[in-house]
């Protein structure tokens, strides 16, 4: 009887961000669909109202079906027999509900039966689903692959595949192999073109494939014989109806147990090329990964939220020494910081989603007509921000999800270590978020150039230039001090002109930038809505202290110290 959308007012707050007006206008091409589709909005308010109403459906399904099923799904998990996967009973019910509710293909254009929603409401749905069951969010969130198919496939492929996704068929992205994990250039799955049949055939093995028995697969394979690097890889679409791919086994994982992680064997599996040859990894998978990273951020935010709620509920109810444990400073501090991290993560998620929305909508329009010079500048600006914010957000929000899940157990004490409470599942589910779709260490590699080139600093200075209520001024002063300290730290490290030294401190620098960004985002939230005041205070206090710590570490570190750390 819970509605995960209605019981969390911060979602509506993020949905109503001022930039939405421009995003919706671009996405809806000035509401041109209204005469052709009975479910298309007629104006901005109508579109926003639709997002709100659809999210209410998502929230209801999450509260009434997905969350109550999560425990049994975690326990039962999927099974594999004769090369085919059977989902847990609860997973089947969840899928049935989201299909009936028409929640597949949310971001796809209406001409392919999608809802044509921008990324922001789509990601909000992912946030909700992840709070209910992070493992199920994986299956549902793989509709992201349709986005890649839409971006890089041809019109014929759009027409054949996207409506199927909108009707509820699931997808997978088959990238990794036993010897190609983080380093995808090493992918060896072989794609051979048959002149006789006029199609491609795939042969080889893929490993760690989420939802590997999906209806429609995007596959990264080596199409150029004799090559060894990224330039020999292309992207393919494999349709399960054609056959040729079997599931050899499913992994027995620590968390997200409802989501089948498969080892796939391709035996002359018929496939078709998606996009151009040789651009598979260089262009398409990079695009796919950015979208997927945003999805993992949403998953992290959902888990953080669930962990906060589980921790809070228990701390209020559990009595020790004659009072509820929430009354003890050691406990309420933990809870306040958990809430602040969850709120900061969520603000980052939607800030990033808006950048992606702006960039993608303009990019999509550029396929229909030439962009104006202003629009091109706008697209470049948001594209760069999306590039910078995605790794920072993915990297840090997933770490926070882990910390929140850890603290949720801590609040439960011994009971949290037992299987009786949801917090232990959250803890196990959280653990993969900072690993897959690029570990935090790899997110730092992607983010560090935005530290050295000043993308983050420039954005933070833009936040600084915004006006805030007088009563928030002192928080802003603190943030200015944090920003100055960050700027100085970057200078200290880059001045040494030592690449290894920079790599060594990269995470500390990215974290410092993150504290400034997250702090300002919460300040803006508090500026618009007083209910965020507490999280802004708590987070800025925390970030301020963390930067001091990093400052002390870096300032007292010399390049020669690296020697002590080397293996």
């Amino acid at each position: 009887m819970a509605n995960f959308y209605l019981d969390n007012p911060s979602l509506k707050h993020h949905l109503q961000h001022p930039l939405m007006k421009r995003i919706v206008e671009l996405k809806e091409r000035n509401y041109a669909d209204k005469d052709n589709f009975d479910y298309a909005p007629v104006d901005f308010e109508d579109a926003m109202d639709s997002y709100d109403k659809v999210l209410e459906i998502v929230g209801e399904i999450c509260g009434d079906i997905i969350w109550p099923n999560a425990e049994s799904v975690d326990h039962d998990g999927p099974t594999v027999e004769n090369g085919r996967v059977t989902y847990a009973k609860g997973t089947q019910q969840n899928l049935e509900a989201v299909r009936k509710a028409g929640l597949m293909g949310i971001a796809m254009p209406r001409r392919y039966n999608g809802l044509n929603f921008p990324i922001v409401p789509y990601i909000m749905a992912a946030d909700l689903v992840a709070r209910a069951d992070a493992g199920f969010e994986n299956l549902w969130g793989l509709q992201d692959c349709a986005e890649t198919l839409y971006e890089f496939g041809n019109e014929d492929q759009h027409k054949r595949f996207i409506p199927r996704v909108c009707a509820g068929e699931t997808m997978s992205m088959d990238l990794t192999e036993p010897d190609a994990g983080s380093d995808l250039q090493a992918v060896m799955l072989k794609a051979t073109y048959s002149e006789k049949d006029g199609c491609w055939y795939l042969n080889g093995v893929k490993r760690f494939i989420t939802n590997g028995d999906a209806d429609i697969h995007l596959v990264l394979a080596r199409s150029e014989e004799g090559t060894k690097d990224a330039r020999g890889l292309s992207m393919f679409v494999y349709d399960k109806r054609d056959g040729g791919v079997n599931v050899r086994r499913i992994e027995n994982k620590m968390g997200i147990k409802g989501s089948p992680t498969c080892e796939l064997v391709y035996k002359n599996a018929k496939a078709e090329l998606c996009g151009d040859r040789k651009l598979g990894l260089i262009k398409y998978v990079m695009g796919l990964m950015n979208g997927a990273r945003l999805g993992i951020m949403a998953q992290a935010v959902g888990i953080s939220e669930a962990a906060c709620r589980e921790g809070l509920a228990y701390a209020r109810e559990r009595k020790q020494f004659g009072k509820a444990i929430i009354e003890f400073p050691a406990v309420y501090e933990m809870l306040a910081l958990m809430r602040a991290k969850a709120d900061a993560s969520r603000s980052m998620l939607y800030e990033t989603a808006r950048f992606v929305d702006m960039y993608k909508a303009l990019d999509d329009i550029s396929k229909e007509r030439k962009l104006t010079p202003e629009e091109r500048t706008e697209m470049k600006y948001y594209g760069k921000l999306a590039d910078a914010f995605t790794p920072m957000g993915k990297g840090i929000t997933t770490e926070y999800a882990n910390q929140n899940a850890y603290d949720a157990i801590q609040i439960h004490g011994g009971s949290g270590f037992m299987k009786d409470y949801a917090c232990e599942r959250l803890y196990r589910d959280a653990r993969i978020t900072n690993i897959y779709e690029g570990t935090t260490q790899l997110q730092v590699v992607a983010a560090i150039r935005h530290v050295t080139t000043g993308t983050y600093l420039n954005r933070v200075r833009e936040y600084e230039a915004m006006t805030y209520k007088p009563e928030l001024e002192y928080l802003k002063k603190k943030l200015i001090a944090m920003t100055n300290a960050y700027e100085k730290l970057v200078a200290t490290i880059t001045e040494t002109k030592d690449g290894e030294h920079l790599d060594f401190h990269a995470r500390r620098l990215v974290e410092s930038a993150t504290h400034c960004v997250f702090g300002y985002l919460l300040l803006q939230d508090a500026n618009a809505d007083d209910s965020f005041r507490r999280s802004a205070e708590v987070y800025i206090n925390y970030g301020h202290a963390e930067i001091k710590k990093i400052e002390s570490y870096i300032n007292e570190f010399s390049v020669e110290d690296l020697g002590f750390y080397k293996a």
Partner: protein, 290 residues
């Protein structure tokens, strides 16, 4: 021939949390004090209707509800889930109706709809818990009825096969159409609202709703006729005013109270298999479980 299904649905106060002001001085329910919801078992009935529609292409599902203006929400909720249309019976003269007056009004409306094969409704509504309206409608229309339905297996050759949930088991019955079927709460839950249908029908309004000051998007109604929700008055369904509403209702509620079940005594059991076995036997014997 396509199957024509009518679903009788009621907007009810959410009696799961009854407060002091739940009843008015005249013994009728104070609807303003309680949030209005779709009667739960009517949702089970709607799901059965939608499943029949899924299984029989071309079948239509029409909702019929009686209530104040805001009960139009029931029709919208049905449209959001896949119903094809609906009628709101609304008139001051319908107000204060007991089951007799309600079933009279509904049966008159069904006569007006005229063509139907199956009439589905929930077993009972959570505000009255009488379980009388469905059977009374069947009697007034001279139709067969199957109560406590949990599943409708199939409709073929003018006959329907229904699984009934009884106190000590199930019963499978077959009956000729047209028929009234009341659906039990143990039947499958209703499907969620559909994202596209919500966007399609969210502006749907009755004439009365269109006249409200806050009404918006009125320009859409000329190009999207499906947004017009039908309202029927006593006169529209050719009903006799004296048999409607309070004047047609012999039932008078004297008092309602919120009963809280509380354990009066406790019992300490030894933590042995034998003691648990004894307890289980006792609970089964006094029908607490099983």
């Amino acid at each position: 021939m396509s199957l024509r299904i009518i679903v009788l649905a009621k907007q009810v106060p959410d009696t799961r949390n009854v407060g002091k002001d739940a009843m008015k001085a005249d013994g009728t329910v104070n609807r303003a004090a309680l949030p209005a919801i779709f009667n739960p078992e009517d949702l089970n009935a709607l799901e059965q209707a939608l499943r029949l529609k899924d299984a029989h292409p071309g079948a239509t599902v029409t909702l019929l509800t009686m209530g104040p203006g805001r009960a139009a929400e029931i029709i919208r909720e049905g449209l959001y889930r896949g119903a094809d249309g609906g009628f709101l019976l609304t008139d001051r003269a319908f107000a204060g109706a007991d089951t007799l007056a309600t079933s009279y009004a509904l049966s008159m409306a069904i006569r007006k709809i005229k063509e139907y094969d199956i009439i589905l409704c929930g077993r009972q509504a959570i505000d009255g818990d009488t379980a009388q309206v469905g059977p009374q409608v069947a009697e007034k229309l001279g139709l067969n009825q199957v109560t406590y339905a949990e599943d409708i297996f199939n409709v073929k050759d003018g006959k329907v096969t229904v699984k009934r949930r009884l106190e000590r088991g199930i019963e499978i019955v077959e009956a000729p159409l047209p028929i009234v079927v009341t659906v039990n709460g143990s039947a499958p839950d209703c499907r969620p609202r559909n994202a596209k249908l919500v966007q399609k029908y969210k502006h749907a309004k009755t004439v009365t709703e269109k006249q409200e000051a806050t009404a918006d998007y009125l320009e859409l109604f000329s190009t999207r006729p499906y947004l017009n929700l039908q309202e029927w008055s006593v006169a529209d369904v050719n009903a006799d005013v004296k048999q409607c509403g309070l004047s047609g209702s012999p039932t008078k509620v004297k008092r309602i109270e919120n009963v809280i079940f509380q354990a009066k005594e406790s019992k300490t059991l030894l933590p042995t298999d034998g003691a648990i076995d004894e307890l289980m036997k006792e609970l089964i014997a006094n029908h607490t479980i099983g």
